[in-house]
């Protein structure tokens, strides 16, 4: 009898191990897989303004843009008026949509494979993934997701160790300091870039 139960446990363990990886990964990995599938479909189908609009929708659906914008402004966020914050976030979404739609260019057979998922005690989920290309080395992309009530949403993307939010934060911070410590010139610059 003890032998049989041990066998049952073993069977159970094998069954758990054999389960498909994405089923055990939970909602965070599902978000990444869904978003990347949508992006690939979009890049295949559309170019130019249509693609930019599609990327914007994806950004607003899967990314927590207010959170990212607040992180990118860092300590300057507190000193920014609510109306300015809205304009800033709007401009950032436009700038990122533009950047992503141009960055991808032609679809070249890239695929995104989701790897390890780590959930942290502070509510952050880190999803490792690899972007495989037809030519060249695969690119390591790490996604950071937080759940603020509407399911997990992306709050940072780390490409080969370079965090998008951290780089923007450094960039914006330096620009603000170079313009008398005011956020307004930065917002105007971002709006100007989004307009043309």
């Amino acid at each position: 009898m003890p032998f049989a139960s041990r066998r049952a446990v073993l069977c159970l363990a094998v069954a758990v191990l054999a389960m498909p990886a994405h089923a055990a990964d939970g909602p965070a990995a599902a978000v990444i897989e869904k978003a990347s599938a949508e992006v690939i479909a979009l890049i295949k189908a559309k170019t130019g303004r249509d693609r930019e609009a599609g990327i914007r929708t994806i950004l607003l659906t899967y990314f927590d843009m207010p959170f990212m914008g607040q992180s990118a402004l860092g300590t300057h966020w507190a000193a920014t008026a609510p109306a300015q914050r809205d304009r800033f976030l709007k401009a950032v979404v436009s700038a990122e949509a533009r950047a992503y739609s141009e960055r991808f260019g032609q679809y070249g057979g890239q695929t995104l494979t989701v790897g390890r998922v780590s959930t942290r005690s502070n509510g952050v989920t880190v999803v490792d993934s690899k972007l495989s290309q037809t030519n060249g080395q695969p690119i390591a992309i790490q996604w950071e997701l937080r759940d603020a009530g509407q399911g997990p949403r992306i709050t940072d993307v780390k490409i080969e160790g370079v965090s998008m939010v951290m780089t923007r934060r450094s960039d914006f911070n330096s620009y603000i300091q170079g313009h008398g410590g005011k956020v307004e010139p930065l917002i105007e610059e971002l709006e100007k870039r989004a307009a043309n």
Partner: protein, 268 residues
């Protein structure tokens, strides 16, 4: 009156000493609990920006156009071959660093790669070692210092922009010099008085074109999408170097990166 003044002075001095000590304790606290959320340390920002602008001018008129031509017109297999030769020339330095990092078996693999590729791979043109299962690694003294230094890998000393070589910091610039000093090829060609046109010139020229070609996409993207390219590149460089060093350390401590991320979320 005078006594009162002296007393006030003394009290003021005591207060400022306490303030300085408190500030030092806070700074010290920041240093040990450094989560990488801080800006890179850049006390030489003005001269750095000056060199950065010269580098950029040289890049725009000379290096970038060559890199674009090279990418678009040089056959992909030739590009691959040249990259392999340069990688192969770097293997001895990598092996030396791996020994210093306390990983002699990895160093042996690197030397095996070097021997295989230098012979069967025709002076390194073909990377046959990888198909034998000998994977490629690249190490420099900057990584070695970062591996042993008991500070956050984001902290590589002060940031600096090197003429032509671009973004660096105290750690990596010192590393470059150390690597140059111990490079067996460099020592050999110096000892044999090899003309620079035969070895150093072609090697460094090819390295510049190869590296610039490989960074075209990322740097164009960073420049186009930043409002302060200098600051964006400074941040990206610091993060990427830190990631490489952190991965080395994580062989012994796989949770440290995630723990740092937890702290980062708190800092925000």
């Amino acid at each position: 009156m005078a006594e009162g003044f002296l007393k006030t002075m003394a009290a003021g001095a005591r207060r400022s000493t306490v303030a300085v000590l408190a500030a030092a304790a806070l700074l010290g606290g920041c240093a040990t609990g450094d989560t990488g959320a801080n800006e890179p340390w850049d006390p030489l920002e003005t001269p750095n920006r000056f060199i950065f602008s010269i580098n950029r001018a040289v890049d725009i008129i000379a290096i970038r156009p060559i890199a674009v031509l090279y990418r678009d017109w040089m056959p992909a297999r030739a590009q691959r071959g040249i990259h392999n030769v340069l990688d192969n020339l770097g293997e001895p330095v990598t092996a030396i660093n791996e020994v210093v990092q306390g990983d002699p078996s990895r160093a042996a693999t690197t030397m095996a790669r070097f021997l295989v590729n230098s012979t069967i791979g025709l002076a390194g043109i073909f990377d046959v070692a990888t198909s034998f299962g000998l994977t490629h690694t690249k190490e420099g003294a900057g990584n070695t210092v970062g591996y042993y230094a008991s500070v956050e890998p984001e902290n590589g000393g002060f940031y600096m922009v090197l003429p032509l070589a671009g973004p660096s910091n105290a750690r990596d610039a010192a590393g470059l010099m150390a690597d140059y000093a111990v490079d067996p090829f460099r020592i050999l060609t110096f000892a044999l008085n090899v003309d620079w046109l035969l070895y150093s010139g072609p090697r460094w020229g090819a390295t510049v074109v190869d590296v610039r070609t490989r960074t075209l996409f990322a740097l164009d993207d960073l420049e186009k999408n930043s409002v302060d390219y200098y600051a964006a590149l400074r941040s990206a460089y610091t993060q990427q170097r830190a990631e490489i060093i952190r991965q080395k350390r994580e062989k012994t401590d796989p949770r440290s990166e995630l723990q740092r991320r937890d702290n980062l979320a708190l800092v925000r």
